[in-house]
């Protein structure tokens, strides 16, 4: 594509803007979750003499007669949000008899047996291993293929650049459900990958790619042209520039899309449901199976479900900070 200078400038600006908005849209869950960093920082930075006066009314609003109501409302929100999750966690520590006698009670006495049965049984670990393997393969394939594709789409000028990008953007709108039956046939019959890790991971990576490329392209675009010129002056080729400069600088973006791909794969249900059987099942399938097979063993279901929740929650909490730092870091320039 041959675009006049001025137009190119505007393309860059606009994609820069879109980067911020996509970044905001997708990454902010985490951004705002961890800490109140942005707000906190902003207010911290601006503690100019005048700001004391400005803050006062706001604080009075927060603490004054409205204060109690605000905290009460927050408490209700927390209770409604965490209630079901905590009930499941605690339910795992009760017996079915306890649950039947007083469904709303606390464990009395606390019973470890449900959790022990799940942990010492082999099914949970088999399913967990499958989940991990499939999620890791999905993530690696998504990030590697996504970064590679985003590079020319961000920094090369060629006629098919925008149309090619649009192919992926339109891909955002394809629900995986639409393709599920042909996908099932393709994977099981044509590729003989039914009931394998790769058979699930590759389609999941394929459906994660549009989002990945849409997020990564602005990241790569935002890296200053001057750096590229400097690298060339020093005798680097485009490929060397990609390896030595672009990859390290886009690491924060890669982590973000990696987390999205991982969580998406970890939580996936429909595709694994169709493709995986027996020993190859993932945790969500295991949870659903356990729930329908032992529907009367509510305490057991709660224990199994709780243990299946933990990895995703830990992973999410662990990655939050890195995503935030990543998004607030290098790209802004």
């Amino acid at each position: 594509m041959s675009t006049p200078m001025s137009m190119r400038g505007s393309i860059h600006e606009s994609s820069d803007r879109s980067s911020r908005s996509t970044g905001a849209a997708l990454a902010t869950p985490s951004t705002s979750t961890v800490t109140d960093q942005p707000t906190g920082q902003a207010t911290g930075d601006r503690h100019t003499p005048g700001s004391g006066r400005r803050r006062a009314p706001a604080e009075r609003n927060g603490r004054g007669e409205g204060g109690v109501l605000v905290y009460l409302a927050a408490l209700v929100v927390v209770a409604l949000t965490l209630g079901p999750v905590l009930y499941a966690v605690l339910g795992g520590f009760r017996t079915n008899a306890q649950l039947a006698a007083d469904p709303a009670g606390l464990p009395d006495p606390w019973v470890l047996d449900n959790y022990r049965r799940v942990i010492t049984g082999s099914t949970f670990w088999t399913y967990a291993l499958n989940s991990v393997a499939i999620a890791v393969i999905t993530t690696v394939v998504t990030v590697v293929a996504g970064l590679m594709a985003a590079y020319p789409l961000a920094r090369y000028q060629f006629r098919w650049r925008e149309p090619l990008f649009m192919v992926f953007v339109v891909g955002l709108l394809f629900p995986a459900t639409v393709a599920i039956i042909p996908l099932f046939i393709l994977v099981t019959r044509d590729l003989s990958l039914g009931n394998t890790w790769w058979g699930v991971a590759l389609p999941q990576a394929a459906f994660a790619l549009p989002m990945t490329i849409v997020i990564l392209r602005p990241f790569l675009m935002a890296i200053p042209r001057e750096m590229e010129e400097a690298a060339i002056m020093d005798g680097a080729s485009r490929l060397q520039f990609f390896w030595r400069v672009l990859l390290p600088l886009s690491a924060p973006g890669a982590i973000t899309v990696g987390v999205l791909a991982f969580v998406g794969s970890w939580n996936a249900y429909l595709l694994p449901l169709l493709l995986l059987r027996g020993e190859m099942k993932t945790l969500p399938l295991g949870v659903a199976d356990f729930s329908s097979q032992y529907s009367s063993d509510t305490a057991g279901v709660f224990a199994f479900t709780t243990l299946a929740m933990i990895p995703a929650l830990i992973f999410f909490l662990a990655m939050q900070k890195r995503i935030v730092n990543g998004l607030q870091g290098a790209v802004k320039g």
């Binding site: 908005s21 905001a24 902010t28 601006r46 079901p84 995986a176 459900t177």
Partner: protein
């Protein structure tokens, strides 16, 4: 060609060489090779597992096919007629549209309210923001299984708690009574997804300049007036983006329904996705399932295009991302 390159031969029309058109010469072949090399993995995977199956879905939709043997029984648009005249499927379309509208009507005010609440300077705000996101991080299936247990007729904790305030649960349970199944599903979906709205809105709120609320405060506006006249209007783009994501998600809804009700009772909660999975995997009606999936796709695409045209258009940044779908 990128700005990496010195002006190649023949690029005289471009004064700087930065935007030089790729014209002839070995360098351009090399660049084409690089482009191909870099995009090949993504294009292969995307083509094989996304584009190809979708094209196949369109093809299947024109045949009567039970999943075995060659694809020979061409029936034209008959599957589409069958799907579009099917009461269950039409009900499913209605349910999906209801979920689209109800999700926005319920989660928008709720999410906005919680976001404004959490935007105030209260203690433990960071923790609160993490907590509100917990349901969203859980797999839909896992959340669904928990809710299924909570809603068990007769012995679930929800009915027990209602009992303590003197209310009787419905005889067949919340999920087993046709009139209650959909409202119950909406409650669970709200629980699961309101966190996403809250966090997007909180992010949007960080973009509202302090100076504006400050100025309004100096002019004597109350907290509520500031929110209504200044903050919420400035959240417009965020709200519109969220509504778009919510809409697409509502149209594709599968996991939660499959776990909670399986589409029942009496098809009261069937969605397009549960319909097509049911037809395809349980009844082996691949042609019907494929036609249903094409209809689902056309509905999703139409809504996306209309939304982009009439709503998102105002927000340049969003338009950029969705430019191709116009």
């Amino acid at each position: 060609m990128t700005s990496l390159s010195v002006p190649p031969r023949g690029a005289t029309t471009q004064p700087t060489g930065r935007t030089a058109r790729p014209v002839g010469g070995g360098r351009d072949w090399r660049m084409a090779g690089e482009i191909l090399l870099f995009t090949a993995p993504a294009l292969t995977i995307f083509g094989l597992f996304v584009v190809w199956p979708i094209l196949r879905a369109v093809q299947f939709s024109l045949y009567r096919w039970k999943g075995f043997g060659p694809l020979v029984d061409f029936v034209g648009l008959q599957n589409y007629v069958a799907v579009l005249t099917n009461e269950v499927f039409r009900g499913a379309v209605g349910h999906n549209l209801f979920i689209v509208v109800a999700s926005i009507l319920i989660q928008l005010p709720l999410g906005l309210g919680i976001a404004l609440l959490l935007n105030r300077r209260i203690r433990g705000r960071g923790l609160l923001r993490t907590i509100i996101f917990v349901p969203y991080v859980l797999a839909e299936v896992i959340a669904g299984v928990v809710w299924f247990q909570l809603l068990q007729p007769g012995r679930g904790v929800v009915e027990t708690l209602l009992g303590t305030v003197g209310l009787d649960g419905p005889y067949q349970g919340f999920l087993g009574t046709p009139e209650l199944a959909m409202p119950t599903l909406m409650v669970v979906l709200t629980w699961k997804y309101v966190g996403l709205a809250v966090l997007l809105f909180l992010a949007g709120l960080q973009g509202v300049p302090d100076e504006l609320t400050e100025a309004a405060q100096i002019d004597g506006a109350t907290w509520w007036q500031i929110q209504r006249r200044v903050t919420i209007p400035l959240l417009g783009p965020t709200i519109r983006t969220w509504a778009f994501l919510s809409m697409i998600g509502s149209l594709q809804l599968f996991d939660m329904v499959w776990i909670l009700t399986g589409g029942g009772p009496a098809n009261a909660t069937t969605t397009m996705a549960t319909f097509l999975v049911n037809e395809g995997t349980k009844r082996q009606n691949y042609g019907i399932a494929a036609a249903a999936s094409v209809v689902l796709f056309v509905i999703a695409l139409t809504m996306a295009v209309l939304y982009q045209r009439f709503v998102l258009r105002r927000d340049t940044s969003d338009a950029d991302v969705l430019r191709g779908v116009r």
